[in-house]
């Protein structure tokens, strides 16, 4: 009887220990925690210097950059009718020409050229998309960006810049993080920040503002409007790496201190931008 009692005690002790473990079910994160897993959001902001509501879009981008540091890669595509300069007289507002050929190729000039995205009203933009079908107003960008934040990037991009003799060289390494079946396009643009020029801003009593700070202004592409094909075999395995190298001579009017290289990859079928990276030309 004594032995039986001891056995029963042992079984009870062992049994209770078996309950002493916590199997956690998804989600594995605490409530209200947003975890950024490395997927960046490319925001194409189709803007214009004479577009009075466009600064709303700029402010949405600034807010997103504060909320998700490092996770937002903006490009200000000055385009369409409201993006054009109206005079060559530098004492007058809106004399500055923001629109290089790449801007027109993407957004159009509101007149003879429609561009890829055919921008007819501003401000509009896309978040992680190279498709005109995904254009939305700035009010939608935060929600769209939030949807990408916790996703894992399928690719990681490393950009190693060098700058000499007014020439930018970008050595780019694209690494496959998740196995996938896609035909991927690599695009490399140059943007410039801290350009102080005129901007219409309907939220300000002083509009138009003379020294408005224009950031992420699209200047040029290093490999064409739509870039180039990254892979020939659509089956990509984890660890598949691609190396690209591009050169571009800058224009005298650009300030190399404020130039950034923006590299991104998108799916040629769905036009989804899968990852983006930005680095200053002069680090």
């Amino acid at each position: 009887m004594k032995k039986l009692a001891i056995y029963l005690t042992l079984i009870l002790v062992a049994g209770s220990l078996f309950y002493a473990c916590d199997t956690i079910e998804e989600p594995y994160y605490e409530d209200n925690v947003t975890v950024w897993n490395g997927r960046k959001s490319l925001i194409l902001d189709f803007t214009g210097q004479r577009c009075g509501f466009c600064p709303d879009g700029h402010r949405v981008i600034e807010q997103l950059q504060t909320t998700y540091p490092d996770a937002v890669v903006p490009i200000a595509v000055h385009c369409s009718f409201l993006g054009l300069a109206v005079t060559s007289d530098t004492t007058q507002p809106f004399h500055y020409n923001f629109m290089d050929s790449i801007n027109i190729a993407l957004g159009g000039d509101g007149m003879s050229s429609t561009g890829h995205f055919n921008i007819t009203s501003q401000p509009v933009g896309t978040v992680n998309s190279f498709s005109p079908e995904d254009i939305s107003a700035p009010g939608a960008w935060a929600t769209k960006t939030a949807g990408f934040i916790s996703l894992f990037p399928e690719f990681s991009i490393e950009v190693a810049p060098t700058f000499s003799d007014s020439t930018i060289q970008a050595d780019i390494n694209i690494y496959t993080e998740i196995a996938t079946e896609r035909q991927v396009q690599i695009v490399v643009y140059i943007v410039e920040s801290h350009i102080f020029e005129w901007q219409e801003d309907y939220s300000s009593d002083d509009s138009p503002i003379e020294n408005y700070e224009h950031n992420h202004v699209l200047r040029a592409s290093m490999n064409g409007t739509f870039g180039e094909k990254l892979n020939t075999d659509v089956n990509l395995s984890v660890g598949d790496e691609f190396e690209k190298s591009y050169n571009l001579k800058i224009k005298p009017s650009w300030n190399p201190e404020n130039l950034q290289i923006v590299a991104f990859v998108y799916d040629n079928d769905s036009k989804e931008v899968l990852q983006a990276e930005e680095v200053y030309v002069k680090e």
Partner: protein, 548 residues
């Protein structure tokens, strides 16, 4: 105050020892290692501010009848270079280890610090290895109970030692094994014997993480069996661990698994061993943020041979708890005396082969990369074996006595290791090496002998070829050693360094003093599947050990 409370049991034990001391038995030992460091920029050896460092400890234990108690005084002022916690965590002095034990009525009870192993160590192995600076003893309560012959239970509960402090977790565990033959009278005399066993170990650690929802109670359980028939023995164990996100697995929630099967056959003059092991995500620590050798609750048994000769141990294998498959086979054969190959005194031959691969990892779905933190991580089918080679070791050892005065051991080793995984130096990719060693002992008379080791490692990889020579001359009470390791094949001609050491030792009864001077290369030292990096050093070393 906390200190006083901590040492109170020690004082009580001491007082009670005093009372018992008349007819009990006291034993003890001391080990002290002192090193005076010199800077040597050529081999990257740096000297600490203190110049002289010391690792030392002394054990004292008392036994009387079914009662025993003991303590260990330890002093690290400061910790020798290359030992865990040399960053300051291990520096200090005190009595971090004390215990009392008694047995009565089938119970065996220990309070204080104890070491313990359940099965092969998959669920629990609290042990110490002073040469590596590892001591993960548990401070708590252990109860062993054997109600009848052939049935044993062990229960433990406590906190784990963390240098001179405790780890943050609490460990609870039970283990039991049953000898089937002992249980049934009919089976008692059978040649076929079966022992079954199981263990369950759970750890508790608070979840204060702001990001992850972490399991506070994490359990590992294992089942094992031992079958023997005459000289043939088979031992196998399977372990399963529930989700245990940790620094080791980069916070994935995948459960872990481990499996081991070993078959041995031994008779006079012949020994055979085949063994295989499969491990996935089985690191188990009482602090989920601990790394290296800190706070391990379990120890995954090694599947490769542990070499002791300097160049054979140059590239040791370290168990990869995050995933590995390994297999080992060993044959030991003794050619009898007076046979053709045995010669006058017999010849011993040991052939050992081991190979370790990765465990393949498949993504859990299309959107999550393999091993991503805060996810299930990956999938690995049980006992799946990957294509990536981690380590392979083929070695042959021949021991032969030529005459009463001459004896030698010849060793050949062919080694391949994946240094991208094992990272024992800055070299990337695979390292292929051939190693040959001759160990010759000549006895002038019963107490005077000269031993020489001649070792060569031949490789085109990493730092290239090495040669090593050692002479050890022993006379009664004294021994002298001269040693040199020479990296003569380094592709960088300026780094073809000599690492020489000269030493003098004195032995008297249970005491031994050794004084040596020389240079030590940077390296990796492993014991029982655990490794530590040893930095390059140059200096004077004094080692004293004594027992009573």
């Amino acid at each position: 105050m906390k200190r006083i409370i901590r040492y109170l049991p020690v004082l009580l034990v001491m007082f009670s020892l005093n009372a018992f001391a008349q007819d009990g038995r006291f034993t003890g030992n001391f080990q002290g290692d002192f090193q005076y460091y010199l800077s040597d920029s050529t081999i990257n050896a740096v000297s600490p501010d203190e110049l002289l460092l010391m690792n030392s400890y002394a054990n004292f234990s008392y036994t009387k009848g079914n009662f025993s108690a003991g303590l260990r005084y330890e002093a690290y002022l400061k910790t020798l270079a290359g030992f865990p916690g040399e960053d300051g965590r291990n520096d200090g002095l005190g009595i971090p280890h004390r215990w009392a034990q008694f047995s009565s009525d089938g119970f065996d009870i220990t309070v204080g610090n104890f070491y313990e192993q359940f099965g092969n160590g998959f669920t629990l192995r609290a042990y110490e290895e002073k040469a590596l600076g590892v001591d993960n003893s548990i401070d708590g309560v252990r109860v062993k109970y054997s109600p009848i012959q052939g049935v044993n239970f062990t229960g433990i509960l406590g906190k784990q030692r963390y240098y001179f402090d405790y780890g943050p977790g609490i460990i609870r565990g039970v283990d039991g094994d049953v000898s089937i033959n002992d249980l049934f009278e009919k089976l008692q005399d059978k040649r076929f014997r079966v022992i079954v066993g199981g263990s369950f170990v759970s750890k508790f650690q608070e979840d204060n993480d702001p990001v992850y929802v972490l399991p506070e109670n994490v359990a590992t359980s294992a089942a094992r069996i031992n079958l023997s028939y005459g000289l043939l023995n088979f031992n196998s164990e399977y372990a399963y661990k529930i989700n245990d996100p940790s620094e080791d697995n980069k916070y994935i929630y995948k459960p872990g698994q481990a499996f081991l099967a070993t078959a041995t056959y031994s008779q006079r003059g012949l020994g055979l061993l085949v063994s295989t092991k499969w491990v996935d995500n089985m690191s188990f620590r009482s602090d989920r943020n601990a790394t290296l050798t800190d706070l391990n609750i379990n120890l995954l048994p090694e599947i490769t041979k542990n070499h002791t000769y300097t160049l054979a141990a140059y590239y040791p294998y370290a168990t990869q708890p995050n995933g590995e498959w390994g297999a080992q086979a060993e044959v030991m054969y003794n050619f009898k005396r007076k046979s053709k190959l045995g010669g006058k005194y017999g010849t011993n031959l040991a052939l050992n082969f081991s190979r370790v691969h990765n465990v393949p990892r498949n993504p859990i779905n299309d959107t999550i990369p393999v091993g991503a933190s805060g996810t299930l991580g990956y999938e690995s089918p049980f006992f799946s074996i990957g294509d990536e080679l981690f380590y392979q070791d083929i070695n042959l050892e021949l021991t032969k006595k030529i005459s009463k005065s001459l004896k030698f051991v010849l060793t050949y080793q062919n080694l391949t290791l994946n240094n991208d995984v094992l990272m024992q130096s800055e070299f990337h990719d695979m390292i292929h090496a051939n190693i040959a060693i001759a160990d010759v002992t000549y006895k002038f008379n019963r107490k005077t002998s000269l031993r020489g080791e001649f070792q060569g490692m031949f490789t085109d990889d990493d730092k290239g070829d090495w040669a090593m020579g050692l002479l050890e001359f022993s006379i009664p009470k004294f021994f002298f050693t001269v040693m040199d390791s020479w990296n003569y094949g380094n592709s960088n001609v300026d780094e073809r360094y000599h690492y020489y050491t000269v030493g003098l030792g004195y032995i008297s009864g249970g005491s031994r003093v050794q004084l040596s001077y020389g240079k030590q290369r940077q390296g990796v030292m492993c014991v029982g599947g655990v490794c530590r990096t040893v930095p390059a050093s140059n200096g004077l070393m004094l080692s004293i050990s004594s027992t009573f």
